[in-house]
Symmetry: C2
Subunit: 111 residues, 2 copies
Amino acid sequence: MRPLPEPARESLTLAPVLHALSDPVRLELVRRAWANPESTCSVLADGLDVPMSTLSNHWRVLREAGLISMTVDGRHRRIRPRADDLSDRFPGLLDPILRLGAAESLNSRLV
Amino acid sequence: MRPLPEPARESLTLAPVLHALSDPVRLELVRRAWANPESTCSVLADGLDVPMSTLSNHWRVLREAGLISMTVDGRHRRIRPRADDLSDRFPGLLDPILRLGAAESLNSRLV
């Protein structure tokens, strides 16, 4: 199990977090990660019509912004939402975004 | 007075709004516009150390995402926050972002 680098809680800033959430596919991945806090990249991306290289990039953006932790476990990449870090640094931010993202995804082709 | 094009309320989507707010200067402009609902580009950008061309681009991004209305009035560009449209389409979204943006700007060189 090898954890990939990520920013410390105290160095998280708002702009990269909002940027990470400003892509519909990334927002969908975050919604799924929050709903499934012990999962893997491939399970969370199941059914999304996105090339693997694009998905890798999305996961990197989410990790570097501080939204998720990623651990390499053999052939799997395990994803853990940094829910506590986010609610500590940005109280009240994520809930409305996840809720509004869910409402939009019902009307889109993403899900 | 010539209004510049902007998306209709019903066509506003979450991703462009979050993208527009994901830049610290744009977030600061939005905070100022919300605090000063009848103002101009130049007044709202007062004191920001940003080139004019960059500012024009920021205002365009904010207008195209649906955050502000912009009207050309002679040599002035008047800015109006689309607060009602935003709270109708994305209830609960903007308040935490503006609050967290204010908290961060106290610790930055922006203000």
